[in-house]
């Protein structure tokens, strides 16, 4: 069998990835738990758990509810804080032979700046700015639902670091392309989308929401077509590269997302039922590249031929 491994390599926002498959922030912790299943070096990269200026406790449980074709979560950015991450998790991750992406969040613009400044002094490969977490009361999605908010946070992070900066967008907006343009205009090197869609699940026996937070972020196959549509819209609206995510659970989904315009992709909720999902997706994409005589898988990016209207 021919080795198609090298056909998956991609330069994304100036960073070399051996393949375009990355476990998504929040679904993969800081990677340690999944080393039980495979060496992290097989992955294109890792987007680590969203990290804030200070340690956060997160929301009250229950924090998860299964829905048709998906799940809601309301973790609320539980994390040990940026100093702990830099001291205890990053050095370990950097020995793993894969691209490490720090996912950062904050309640205030100042908190985003503080975290970005601290990471700028480290050997982190890339920063993903989360302006779209639907589960925290202050900050988070509040910045991501307006062009002004997205611009403000992108600008402040841009000034704080020279690291490649990827802004993670919320789907809970009227026009996601406008938000992407606002991030691009303030110096984002890339955008990633979509974060979760705000949803709710009610227990009909108790007439109470399953989630103690009442509402939470929907992910899983249920959101996939929405994510494909938004990635397509955004990749047509900006010049910076797009990282696509939202409900990807198999290599066919990954290929579809890339055809919509994503150069790289992230896998989140699929990990819960199948921890091997990223590895299976990489294998599937390698076979696809080989079977279709591609020199590089990037040839399919944005290749969707839409019908004329």
């Amino acid at each position: 069998m021919t080795d198609n491994t090298s056909k998956l390599s991609v330069n994304f926002a100036g960073v070399e990835f051996k393949n375009p498959v990355i476990p998504a922030s929040g679904a993969f912790g800081y990677g340690r738990e999944y080393e039980n299943f495979y060496p992290l070096s097989v992955l294109g990269g890792i987007s680590v758990k969203g990290t804030t200026g200070q340690r956060r406790n997160g929301n009250k449980p229950p924090r998860i509810a299964e829905t048709s074709g998906g799940m809601l979560n309301s973790v609320g950015l539980q994390n040990p804080g940026i100093d702990y991450f830099i001291e205890n998790e990053l050095p370990y991750l950097k020995t793993k032979g894969t691209v490490i992406i720090a996912n950062i969040a904050g309640s205030t613009a100042g908190e985003y700046r503080e975290v970005a400044e601290k990471l700028d002094k480290t050997d982190i490969d890339m920063i993903e700015v989360n302006i779209s977490c639907p589960n925290v009361k202050a900050g988070g999605a509040a910045f991501g639902i307006s062009c002004e908010g997205a611009a403000e946070i992108t600008k402040i992070c841009r000034a704080a670091t020279k690291k490649p900066l990827m802004v993670k967008l919320s789907p809970n907006v009227t026009n996601i392309a406008d938000i992407a343009r606002a991030a691009e205009a303030e110096g984002a090197d890339a955008v990633s989308l979509i974060n979760t869609l705000l949803g709710m699940k009610i227990d009909i026996k108790t007439r109470r929401p399953i989630l103690k937070n009442n509402v939470g972020g929907l992910s899983g196959p249920a959101v996939f077509p929405v994510a494909v549509r938004m990635v397509w819209q955004v990749s047509n609206a900006v010049k910076i590269p797009v990282c696509g995510m939202g409900g990807i659970s198999c290599w066919e989904d990954a290929a579809e997302m890339m055809m919509a315009g994503a150069k790289i992709i992230q896998v989140g909720a699929a990990l819960f039922s199948n921890p091997m999902a990223p590895v299976e997706i990489i294998k599937g994409l390698e076979n696809y590249a080989g079977d279709n005589n591609l020199n590089n898988l990037q040839e399919i990016v944005g290749s969707v031929k839409v019908w004329e209207q």
Binding site: G26, A27, F28, G29, E33, Y34, N36, F37, K49, N57, G58, N59, K60, P61, P62, R63, I64, A65, E66, T67, G69, G70, M71, N73, V75, Q78, I210, G220, P221, A269, L271, F272, S273, P275, M276
Partner: protein, 258 residues
């Protein structure tokens, strides 16, 4: 924590009570390392999330794990369709901390409802040095009494309505047991109010107590942080996670007010 994932054969199945099923799974790799209190995460065909089920029996010699679960919704109903000879998709054994059965000589072991099965391997460790108190809603919900009797432990059965054993809660039976003899440790698994009351009684009597907790779970391995449980660590209130930090906790660490 070291766990395996894959398809393993179901080698026996039985129905213990209404909606309660008992499966034996051949998985020598997991049986080899599993300890009482750990759980396995089962894929239900067609569902996003795996279903965590506690381990009710560990047989290293035959390489099997026994699991007992209740059909609570569509996912567990799907798992209940599996028969002897079918393959079950599991990640096992999970749980960063099981029951510490090494450090104590005598025990009182308490199980409430579907919290009873994980106490069986604990009872097997102690044999006649344990008293086992099991509580159920009524006679038709009672399970595993023969199994507990076989361990050699003194067994006390309670039902809420008195239709089997003594009428009342397991915690009332615990009070009576403690009047006669104080064990080195109390172990418990069951509904939260039962665990809270047990923890309180243990604390009043100065007896260590370990409780196994349940919470809605995502990944099962400690990455997604959804199965939060409020606890105290180094004097600080934190959300620990049932799958990785537990499912067994020292009762003094757990804050039951959430």
């Amino acid at each position: 924590m070291k766990y395996v994932m894959g398809q393993y054969p179901v080698i026996s199945k039985s129905n213990l009570a209404k909606d309660i099923y008992d499966l034996t799974v051949l998985c020598p790799e997991a049986a080899e390392t599993a300890v009482p209190g750990q759980f396995i995460n089962i894929k239900a065909e067609g569902f996003m999330l795996r279903r965590p089920v506690s381990i009710a029996g560990i047989d290293r010699e035959n390489g099997t794990l026994r699991i007992i679960f209740e059909v609570r919704g569509k996912g567990t109903k799907e798992i209940a369709r599996l028969n002897s000879g079918d393959m079950i998709d599991i990640i096992a054994p999970l749980g960063g901390r099981g029951f510490d059965t090494q450090s104590y000589e005598t025990a009182v072991i308490i199980g409430g409802g579907i919290g009873t099965p994980p106490m069986l391997p604990v009872a097997e460790k102690f044999g006649k040095n344990a008293a086992v108190i099991c509580g159920f809603r009524n006679a038709s919900a009672v399970i595993l009494q023969d199994d507990f009797n076989k361990t050699g432990a003194e067994t006390i059965l309670c039902t809420d309505d008195g239709s089997a054993g003594r009428k009342g809660f397991v915690t009332d039976a615990l009070d009576d047991v403690l009047k006669l003899k104080k064990p080195d440790i109390i172990y418990a698994c069951g509904p939260k109010p039962m665990l809270e009351k047990t923890a309180e009684t243990a604390s009043q009597n100065g007896i260590p107590c370990q409780v196994s907790l349940e919470e809605r779970m995502g990944c099962g391995v400690g990455a997604c942080l959804v199965c939060a449980c409020k606890s105290i660590r180094d004097g600080q209130e934190i959300y620990a996670h049932v799958c990785k930090d537990g499912p067994v906790f020292n009762s003094g660490e757990v804050l039951f007010d959430d």
